[in-house]
């Protein structure tokens, strides 16, 4: 196990290094400068600015300097937020995104499992059809449409929750729902399929034959095995949600990191592009490892290390 983990961590580091390298060179292919007032500056002024920021150096040298900085924990300073270290920009804004992402995931997965199970148990009845239709709607209606509707009807018209802003649990309810409907729909579909498969298997027949109640069968025997396909889905989904949704964050005026993924690229804010890309990649590889470990816990048949050891 220890050896396996070490090996995995090594590959993770290698992956991250490759991501950093590829992103860096691709990013440098983008035309333009990171200066927001570039439009009004003369070529001479731009040249002087490039010199100040070391952007006149050959790209391979900029790359070495950047990687060197990263190894010392220095991610550089942002161009959009003048003088602001990228590490601060990320750390000050990841919190809200992560909280929302986790809440949305919990909300989505919890109700998704319940709905999916109910549908599977009542297979081919109107309940099943109802859940399927709801999942399709949940999957196909973009979350910003739902967000705008929730904001208008629940917040503005009924006044049950704040319209926007950030400052306590009440502020997170509507964005959590808007963000969580996607995973809810997805989870319930996966759950239904998984559960239907499991319910058809021999050992469930045996449990039925033993005379166990429907609830006991589902809760003690079917649920755990039905979760396996879901685990594959949840990990990457959580990372995607935690790193922020630009649209939802904009609609509810949440100080999250979501917009930086897009804005940093549009403004050629090189250090921020690298910072958010690395954040996302690190989250993703960590989650993949975690998923593999969780597999082993849920289903002992899946061996982590194998015997090649």
């Amino acid at each position: 196990m220890k050896k396996y983990l070490l090996k995995r961590v090594f590959y993770m580091a290698l992956t991250l290094f490759l991501v950093a390298t590829i992103t860096f060179f691709l990013m440098k292919l983008m035309p333009g400068t990171p200066y927001s007032n570039q439009e009004k500056m003369s070529p001479e002024q731009i040249a002087i600015m490039n010199q100040q920021y070391g952007l006149d150096k050959p790209i391979w040298m900029q790359y070495l300097l950047y990687i060197g900085g990263m190894l010392h924990g220095d991610m550089g300073t942002s161009f959009q937020f003048s003088n602001q270290p990228v590490s601060y920009l990320i750390s000050s804004r990841i919190g809200a995104s992560a909280q929302l992402g986790i809440q949305a995931m919990i909300f989505g997965v919890f109700f998704g499992i319940i709905f999916g199970s109910i549908a599977a148990i009542n297979r081919n009845t109107w309940v099943d059809t109802g859940v399927t239709i709801l999942s399709i709607i949940g999957k196909s209606v973009p979350n910003f449409v739902l967000a705008v509707l929730l904001q208008y009807y629940i917040a503005l018209k009924l006044g049950w929750f704040p319209i926007a802003d950030w400052g306590g649990f009440a502020y997170t309810v509507l964005p959590t729902i808007a963000l969580g409907v996607g995973p809810l729909a997805e989870t319930s579909r996966f759950m239904r399929t998984g559960m239907v498969d499991v319910l058809n298997s021999d050992y469930i027949e045996l449990a039925k034959a033993k005379g166990l109640s429907k609830f006991q069968i589902v809760y003690h025997h079917a649920l755990r095995n039905s979760l396996i396909p879901l685990v594959t889905l949840i990990g990457p989904y959580t990372v995607a949600l935690m790193t922020g949704s630009m649209v939802i964050e904009n609609i509810f005026s949440i100080p999250g990191i979501g917009e930086q993924f897009v804005k940093s690229i549009l403004t050629n804010d090189y250090p921020t592009i690298m910072g958010v890309t690395m954040l996302f990649s690190a989250g993703l590889v960590a989650v993949i490892l975690l998923t593999d470990i969780i597999y082993g816990i849920i289903d002992p048949r899946i061996r982590l290390a194998g015997n090649e050891g």
Partner: protein, 545 residues
């Protein structure tokens, strides 16, 4: 024992409830007397370092929390700031400013001439990497310092004691006083800048202020902050607002919902909302000093031909452009200079220099001119591509232009393609002259027609199309030299220059950006200027509902 403990706890809870309720009440009372303005902003505040700020949000906060020699009032008229008296030498090259003695920083330090000297030197120093330092062009040695050929200490600004500032120019800058209202010319407190170092201007606590308000609760990356009345401001008796609470709402739908619920007093609107709300109480059109226009690359023989340029301009129906592409949220351009920017004797510059034929839709004339132009360049068909941004609006815009031009001249005479690229790419390609036709935009930094007209002199790097006219160059030059001290003559020069530009169709103006706003009628005395810094809240107040 247990019971006693419970009772004790109960008493504490009850007491604190009473206490809290009392607190709530008292703060409610004071809230009703307080002058509070709630403002919705559409983007973050990225920097409060006035040497480095580049965006409108930063400039607006700087303009209200800091003060320079002058402050821009209504219609961009200069009002007293830190300077009480200004003497200009006969040759227009030396400005002597007398500073008021009662101006203070929010930490209690006096605002002195040295603060201006330090600030200006800091901004032009290439090490500071200021993106607005170019505005200092004209101050003695500024250009050489920015190019790294001279030391910042050689800049043409000297403190003569604490309250006298002498600025020397190496060429006349007729709008120099107007520039003094732009944040990049404001003073900075050396002690504070050096104390905070890299952190200076990155959060409200790493700053010191000398304007009507001080900034609070800004962490550098958050979405809300407050401008609170500055107790140390020299003219604080005129400041009526206690607080301006800013909230960033990037979605105009959200902002308008907040407006409806009474949480914000003013917000910008989206185009669709503007269409619905036009004419309602509170609806306000704010004209901005930014004009969008087409540049035609005159390296291509067909675009070096005046008739073809004129024909293309006449083929564009600007009324329809504004309606279809911008949902009616902007104004068709009357010329290259924006309207509402400058006036003389009650007449707007744009009206004084209006050349109707250059911005008028006229299919018949367009066709005729196009045929003639084609003959002159000896071609029977031209092909070109229109370069624009890749936003939804820009895509609509380039498609609109493509179809207008193709329909007017016929697909046998013209083949138009469109190319939509990210903003940064568009800028880079424009600067490299790698385009046929490009949709460009320009926003004026200060309220003078020259901030537009300067762009099209033959040696200006912004003149990417490469249009050239000797008379135009001469008039612009005269406005800066021989006629710099004569406002009437200078005005005439600029009017003539704009007329030449339009007659010759050096550029094809499309529209002037206008932002639709909802502002509660109870919000009074907010000063909005189209150029440079938009908002001045110094004497704003809330009255009625």
């Amino acid at each position: 024992m247990k019971l006693a403990k419970l009772a004790k706890a109960g008493a504490v809870v009850a007491l604190s409830a009473v206490f809290l309720a009392a607190c709530g009440k008292s703060s409610d009372n004071s809230a009703s007397d307080k002058q509070v303005l709630n403002w919705s902003e559409s983007a973050e505040l990225p920097s409060m370092d006035l040497s480095k700020a580049t965006d409108t949000v930063s400039f607006n906060q700087l303009n209200n929390s800091m003060e320079g020699l002058y402050r821009l009032g209504k219609n961009s008229k200069i009002e007293p700031g830190i300077a009480t008296k200004t003497e200009v030498s006969d040759d227009g090259l030396t400005y002597t400013f007398t500073l008021r003695k009662n101006a203070k920083w929010s930490n209690g330090d006096p605002v002195t001439a040295k603060d201006f000297v330090y600030s200006w030197q800091r901004t032009v120093d290439p090490k500071t990497s200021s993106q607005y330092a170019y505005l200092f062009d004209g101050v003695a040695n500024a250009q050489d310092i920015m190019d790294g050929k001279k030391q910042p200490s050689e800049l043409g600004i000297k403190a003569d004691g604490d309250h006298k500032l002498v600025v020397t120019l190496d060429k006349q800058v007729p709008y120099f006083k107007l520039l003094m209202g732009f944040p990049v010319f404001f003073p900075q407190n050396q002690k504070v800048v050096e104390e905070y170092g890299d952190k200076y201007g990155t959060a409200s606590k790493y700053m010191v202020y000398n304007g009507p308000f001080v900034l609070k609760d800004w962490t550098g990356t958050n979405l809300s902050w407050t401008l609170a009345k500055n107790k140390n401001y020299w003219d604080k008796s005129k400041v009526k607002l206690d607080e301006i609470n800013y909230k960033v709402n990037k979605s105009t739908t959200t902002a308008y919902n907040l407006y409806q619920s009474g949480k914000v007093d003013a917000t910008v609107l989206g185009a669709e909302q503007a269409r619905q709300l036009k004419g309602q109480t509170g609806y306000t059109d704010r004209k901005e000093a930014s004009v969008f226009y087409l540049q035609l690359n005159e390296q291509k023989a067909e675009f070096a031909n005046t008739k073809i340029r004129q024909a293309i301009s006449k083929a564009i129906d600007r009324e329809q452009y504004v309606k279809q592409v911008l949902a009616g949220a902007s104004t068709p351009a009357k010329g290259f200079v924006s309207s509402g920017l400058a006036e003389r004797n009650g007449k707007d510059f744009v009206d004084a220099a209006y050349v109707k034929s250059a911005v008028e839709y006229n299919e018949k004339d367009a066709k005729k001119l196009f045929e003639e132009g084609l003959k002159e360049v000896g071609q029977d068909k031209i092909e070109f591509s229109i370069l624009g941004d890749d936003t939804d609006t820009s895509k609509k815009a380039t498609e609109f232009l493509q179809s207008e031009i193709t329909e007017t001249f016929g697909s046998d005479k013209v083949k138009v393609t469109v190319s939509n690229v990210p903003f940064k790419t568009r800028i880079a390609r424009t600067q490299d002259k790698n385009f046929d036709v490009v949709v460009s935009g320009w926003g004026a930094d200060f309220a003078d027609p020259i901030s537009f007209l300067d762009l099209l002199t033959s040696d200006n790097p912004q003149n990417a199309g490469g249009w050239k006219n000797e008379e135009y160059d001469r008039l612009i030059e005269a406005s800066k030299t021989t006629d710099a001290n004569d406002p009437a003559k200078r005005w005439d020069n600029l009017v003539q220059a704009e007329k030449i530009l339009m007659d010759d169709q050096g550029v094809i103006p499309l529209y002037q950006s206008t932002k639709p706003w909802m502002v509660k009628p109870s919000v009074k005395n907010v000063i909005f200027n189209s150029a440079g810094v938009n908002y001045n809240f110094k004497e704003a107040y809330i009255s009625g509902n």
